[in-house]
C-alpha cells in the first residue's frame, strides 16, 4: 500500500455560503481576498472557501459575516479546497455532500428571515418565539385513537 502524506496539516477549512439580493458570491470572495493576508481563499459558485490556521480563518469569517450578517452561512469542511479526492472534475460528478448543501440552501431565506427577526427580540420575546413547538405532532397511533374513543 502507498503511504499517505497529508497536506495542510493543522489547518481548518470553512465554506462561506451567501444567499442574498445585496451580496454576490463574488463580493464575498473579493472581501475575503482583501483581508486574507496570505491565507488561502478560493472563490466558488456559492461564496468561497477559506483554509488556514483556526485563528486566521475565524478572523476572515468574522469580517465576512459583518457584510451581510443574516444571509451568510459558514460551515466546517474536512477537505482543503480543490482536493482531487472530492473535486467534481475528477470524480465525474458532484460529491454527495454538494446535494446536501443544495437542499439546505433552499431554506436559507427562511432562516435569514428568522435570524433577522430573532436578532431584534428581547429575552422575553425570544422565550415566547422559542415556545412554539416546531416538530409537527406525529399522527396519533390508531390503537391510541381507538382507546380514547372507548374512554369517551
Amino acid at each position: 500500500m502507498k503511504p499517505y502524506i497529508p497536506e495542510y496539516v493543522g489547518t481548518v477549512t470553512k465554506y462561506v455560503f451567501v444567499d442574498s439580493p445585496d451580496t454576490t458570491p463574488q463580493d464575498i470572495a473579493t472581501a475575503a481576498y482583501e483581508v486574507a493576508q496570505g491565507v488561502m481563499v478560493k472563490e466558488t459558485c456559492f461564496g468561497c472557501q477559506i483554509t488556514g490556521s483556526p485563528e486566521d480563518v475565524e478572523r476572515i469569517v468574522a469580517h465576512l459575516r459583518k457584510l451581510d450578517p443574516y444571509r451568510i452561512f459558514v460551515k466546517d469542511r474536512g477537505f482543503p479546497p480543490g482536493d482531487a479526492r472530492r473535486c467534481r472534475a475528477d470524480l465525474g460528478g458532484a460529491r454527495p455532500g454538494y446535494l446536501g448543501h443544495e437542499f439546505e440552501m433552499k431554506m436559507a431565506r427562511y432562516i435569514s428571515y428568522g435570524l433577522e427577526a430573532v436578532d431584534k427580540m428581547t429575552a422575553e420575546e425570544l422565550e415566547k418565539a422559542a415556545g412554539t413547538p416546531l416538530p409537527t405532532e406525529e399522527p396519533l397511533d390508531a390503537d391510541i385513537v381507538e382507546q380514547l374513543f372507548m374512554e369517551d
Binding site: 467534481r88 470524480l91 465525474g92 460528478g93 458532484a94 460529491r95 454527495p96 446535494l99 443544495e102 437542499f103
Partner: protein, 421 residues
Amino acid sequence: MSDRPVRIAQITCGAEYSGIQNEITSAAATVGAQMFYPDVALKDVKTAYKEFGLPVKSPDLKLAIARAKAIVEGRIEADGIFIASCFRCAEAAIVRNELRRYIVENSKIPVVSYSFNERTSSSTLLTRLEALSTIAKRRELMAREVQVGITMGVDSGSSTTKCVIMKDNEIVGTGWKPTTEVLKSADDVIAEALAESGLKMSDIEAIGTTGYGRFLIGKHLNADLVQEELTVNSKGAVYLANAQKGFATVIDIGGMDNKAISVNDGIPGSFTMGGICAGASGRFLEMTSKRLGVDITELGALSMKSAGGEDVPMNSYCIVFGTQSLVNALAAGYKPEDVAAASCHSVAQQVYEQQLQEVDIKEPVIMVGGSSLIQGLVRAMGRMLKTEVVVPHHSQYIGAVGAALIASGFVEKKRAEKKEA
C-alpha cells in the same frame, strides 16, 4: 476501439465508509477502466426516486436510484455499471437487485452487482470489473459465433487446468489435469491436446487464456487474448449449447467460486461471482466423495441412484457445518447414494440462495464446468429452478473452448500481417 478508458459508472452505497473505495478505483485502473459518479442534481434525485416508486429511507440509496435512472434514460453515458452495497444490509440489497433488473431490462449496458464488506480487496473486484471492461472494449470480438483457423484455449482454474484446440469450428484436441504448478499443469494439458489433435505448437494461429492463472500462462505462451472467465465461459457456454441468439443463463459451479451469468445474444448482461463459503462450491462435493470413498467422477452416477436426497438433513452454508451434517447423515444410517444426492442438493440450494438471486434466470439454463458432469448436481439445480438444465458437450472444457473461440478473432488479422511480412 479507441484507447480511451472504459468508463464504469459507480452506483454504490457505503463503499467509502467501508474503507474500500480505493480498492474499487484501483481494480478498475488495473483493467484500464475508470470509475465515475454519475452527476445528478438534487431535483433529479427527488423526481427519480418518486418515479422509480421504491420507498427507501437511506438518502444514498435514493441517490443510487437517481444515478441509475440518469444512465438508463441516456442523460449520462457509461460503458458499464457497477452496483454495490454493504453485505448484510437488507434495504440496500433490495435496491441493488431492483436497479440491476431495471438496467438489464431497459438498456444494453452491462452491469455487475456485488455486496462488499471492509475486507473486500481490489483482487476480489478485479475479475468483475475486468469482465465489465471486456464487454465494453471487446464487443466486436465477443460477438464472434464461429471459430475459424486453428486456435488454442487454455483455462487455468483453481482446481483444474484445461486445454482445447479447435480447427474450423470443431474441437480437435483436449487436455485436462488437476492444477498443481500453474505453468507445468498448463504445459502438460497443452501437450495432451496437441497429441490428440495431431498438430504442432507452430500450427496454432492464435491463443487465448483464461482462469486464475491467465496472466501468467498468457505471458508464457505469448497469448493473443488474456481474458477473465466470466465473459469467456459465458461465450463458450452459449456456443456449445447452440444458444447464441436471445437470452440464456449460464451457471458455473467452480472449485473455488461460482459464476451465474445472464447472457443476451451471446454477450453477458449481468453477472455475479463468488459464494460465501466453499460449502457452496464444487469443493464440498469433492469432500463428499472423499468421505463416501468414491472418486469425484463417480459421485454423479452414485447420486442418481437416489430419488434426490431432499429428506437427508444437510446444509452446506458453511463447509465445516456441511461436513458435520455429512458425517451425521452417514452415522444416522442414510444410504451413500442419498447422502451423495443430498450434498448435490445442498450445493445447488446454496448457489440458488446466494447467487441466482442476483441475476435474472431466463431459459435455457446452461450448466458448465467440471461440476456439470455430476448429474445429481444438474438434477438438483433443475428441480430448484423448475427447468430442464442444458449441459452441452465438452462442458468441463468451457473456459478453454470460449478462449479458443474468441481468440479466433485474431486469426484473420494475423494471417494478413504474415502475408504482408
